[in-house]
Amino acid sequence: MLLLVMDTSSAVVTAAVHDGDTVVGHAVEHGAQAHGELLAPVIERALADAGARPSDLTDVCAGVGPGPFTGLRVGVVTARVMGEALGIPVHGICSLDVLAFQAFVESGFALDRLAVAADARRKEVYLRVYGRGARPASDPAVLKPADVDAEVAAGVVVGPGAWLYPDAFPGRAEPRELDGAAMAELVAARLQTGGDLLPPEPLYLRRPDAVENAQRKRVTPS
């Protein structure tokens, strides 16, 4: 197996390569408005770090968010087109799952309840709750920090959204950022155990903003 993972669901643009045993390549850049410029060079660096060529890859996986749509699509379409060009399967993973996995590993596998919050802009967060083994206990949702279940908000909450709204999340904890290497570990493990991976489809959770056509506007004053 030679797996390439990438995530563009936040201001962190990252890619990593996993050979079935361990992470063999990793690269990261920061830039909230520059996913389109940063991702391809980050992938090239992760591949170079692994000493691999694109044609060596056997699987590709993109973080499907939730996250700001424009950046999210850069990762998802990159993974889809690479899969098409290389003739390999394309997977998706909920980006919040990666942060939950990171927190679980960092806690020495001790955490049995936590939530992950990411920045959803418009003063809202994307939130998902996890139980024992960092297994999802809710679907990802978009919420105002004040509307998060009080027990969840008071518990351990990781991810960029928790640190953006410190008053709403008194139990905020590390990690703040998604780590590409941890993502590669998690996806490789799921691939090897037949665990849950998603289709490479963005988790939008919001409809496009658009107003249906109203009556035509008059130009003559009435």
Binding site: A40, V77, V81, E212
Partner: protein
């Protein structure tokens, strides 16, 4: 011909997901998926709706283009993509896709200007462009008059719209007349049954405007004049002669477009005119341009309608010309630029 490079082009600047494949000036495939129906109920293109549609359409459209051309992706020698101008989020889907292709295949990537591609596409139908060429580009997003000494490196804007694009004016007037979106084809059809009997204003043609805005266009005043005329009829309780209004409005648009294009040809000593963009599908624009070019001894080149609207073939056509002329490709970090100036033909 067989040793010319095989170039795949990707276009996502507005609501069409286009993937074209050319070898030199030979068109092998022109696959387009349009999200126009998803925008119709909003009366215009909704950027987020367009971006979502591009993502869904990208891989199927690439696949269809390869099938149509009878090639495998691994046969491609270079990838070209519209880097701008256009809708920022929509452009990004195409640029990311092109980078993913170029990276996977280990092939060069050309980030190119959408407007120059509208000119270059004519090579697929009428052979290599004479140099210089004059180009009139008219669509829902642009109305430009360009002097083109070299479509891969030297494109000079002579004028552009100072308010609405020509295609936008068609959409807005169609709305006033109760015709569906997009307005261009419906106005064209209605006008065919009408007569040019209303004298609507010709924007920026007064002698004072011809000094300051010699090759610029303005369609906002015309659109308002049409709305006023229709409202006055309605206020008087009289029926609106939709076909006559459509014909008269259309005439006002194409009269100014062709008059200024031919003036630009004469003053710059250019004897070839390319007309491109979605509005080039308009039958009256084609007819009047032909008539006036014939009178002026200018050769008119208008690609067939499928090549005039946004598509991937035009991007591939310009990419192939870039390869042929040895222009340097862009890097994997090249940006999409929603307001890319027409003078910048490629992005590094």
């Amino acid at each position: 011909m067989a040793d010319e490079p095989l170039v795949l082009g990707i276009e996502t600047s507005c609501d069409e997901t286009g993937v074209g494949i050319v070898r030199g000036t030979d068109l092998l495939a022109d696959a387009v998926a349009s999200s126009v129906d998803a925008h119709a109920r909003f009366g215009g293109v909704v950027p987020e709706v367009a971006s979502r549609a591009h993502l869904e359409a990208m891989v199927p459209t690439i696949r269809r283009a390869c099938d149509d051309a009878g090639i495998a992706l691994s046969d491609v020698d270079a990838v070209a993509v519209t880097a701008g101008p256009g809708l920022a989020g929509a452009l990004l889907v195409g640029v990311a896709s092109a980078k993913a292709l170029a990276l996977s295949l280990g092939k060069p990537l050309y980030g190119i200007n959408h407007l120059a591609a509208h000119v270059a596409v004519d090579q697929l139908q009428h052979g290599r462009l004479p140099e210089p060429t004059m180009a009139l580009l008219v669509s829902g997003g642009h109305s430009s008059l360009l002097l083109v000494p070299d479509v891969t490196a030297d494109v000079r804007p002579l004028g552009a719209t100072i308010d609405d694009a020509a295609g936008e004016a068609f959409d807005k007037v169609a709305r006033v007349l109760g015709l569906p979106f997009p307005g261009g084809p419906h106005i064209d059809r209605a006008a065919a049954d009408g007569s040019i009997v209303i004298d609507f204003p010709r924007g920026l043609t007064s002698s004072r405007d011809m000094e300051r805005h010699r090759f610029d266009f303005s369609f906002s005043g015309l659109k308002t004049a049409v709305a006023r005329w229709v409202e006055a009829r309605e206020a008087a309780g009289e029926p609106v002669p939709v076909t006559d209004v459509a014909a008269s409005f259309q005439e006002a648009v194409v009269d100014v477009l062709t008059r200024k294009a031919l003036l630009a040809c004469r003053e710059n000593g250019v004897d070839h005119l390319v007309v491109g963009g979605g509005v080039a599908a308009n039958s009256r624009l084609r007819a009047l341009a032909q008539e006036r070019c014939d009178d002026a001894g200018v050769t008119l080149r208008v690609p067939r309608p499928a090549l005039c609207t946004d598509n991937g073939a035009m991007v591939a056509a310009l990419g192939a010309e870039m390869v042929r002329r040895g222009r340097s490709p862009g890097g994997s970090g090249l940006p999409a630029d929603s307001s890319l100036p027409v003078t910048q033909v490629s992005v590094q």
